[in-house]
């Protein structure tokens, strides 16, 4: 069964450093998402991406964050200058069709990247 994959599984970085989290969505999916879960808190939406542009973002997704689909398979989340409070599990997800217009479809999640900022 096709799966969303994420690398690395665990990333440790120093405060102020840039990190790139990588995801390979399911191949025929068109919508891509990033969520995060700070330890002990809810899973929170960060951003959705369709047709090479951001379709929606939360207030968490400020100028320090960016997303990119550099080729036909990868989807990346970049944090330009990490802060201690960015420490969290970051989940990538993808879905087949446009959930806003053609009806909802479930999102398939990757296993997550645990980001630790020291």
């Amino acid at each position: 069964e096709p799966e969303v994959t994420q690398t690395p599984s665990h990333q440790v970085t120093q405060m102020g450093q840039e990190v790139i989290l990588r995801c390979v969505p399911i191949s025929n999916h068109l919508y891509f998402y990033w969520y995060r879960q700070i330890l002990g808190q809810k899973v929170e939406f960060l951003v959705s991406f369709y047709n090479n542009e951001i379709s929606e973002k939360s207030e968490i997704f400020d100028d320090q964050f960016s997303v990119e689909r550099p080729d036909g398979s990868n989807f990346t989340l970049k944090i330009r200058s990490t802060k201690l409070e960015d420490s969290a599990m970051y989940f990538c997800a993808s879905s087949v069709i446009d959930p806003g217009r053609e009806g909802p479809d479930e999102q398939f999640f990757g296993p997550g990247t645990r980001l630790t900022v020291l």
Binding site: Y31, Y33, V43, E56, G103, P104, E106, F109
Partner: protein
């Protein structure tokens, strides 16, 4: 704004007994409701969804959920729990005009042999 509440942090049941995990939601438009399960070191796995139609929806691994519009609830159920059902369960909601999922805090289910 949309939100989900899972009132129980933990649910403990004996194997073979029925399992219920509670979820209530708040959304401005028509709700699209989902249940996901997370096993240790794994991503969120989709279990089932309610979009429209029958209030009782059936999903993977023998799970089902009942949509109750008047109570704004979407409780997850399984008639006979297995030890292997022990995991973290998340309820999520989407507004019909939105892209993002809003998750509950999660309920840890422990099924004892």
């Amino acid at each position: 704004a949309q939100s989900v509440a899972q009132p129980e942090d933990q649910v403990n049941v004996a194997e073979g007994n029925p399992l219920t995990v509670k979820c209530t939601y708040s959304v401005s438009g028509n709700p699209y409701l989902f249940w996901y399960v997370q096993y240790p070191n794994r991503g969120l796995q989709f279990l089932l969804k309610y979009i429209t139609g029958d209030n009782l929806v059936k999903g993977s691994y023998g799970f089902e959920a009942e949509f109750n519009k008047s109570q704004t609830s979407f409780h997850l159920k399984k008639p006979s729990a297995l030890v292997s059902d022990s995991a973290l369960y998340f309820c999520a909601v989407r507004d019909a005009n939105d892209y993002k999922l809003s998750f509950g805090a999660g309920t840890t289910v422990t099924v004892r042999a």
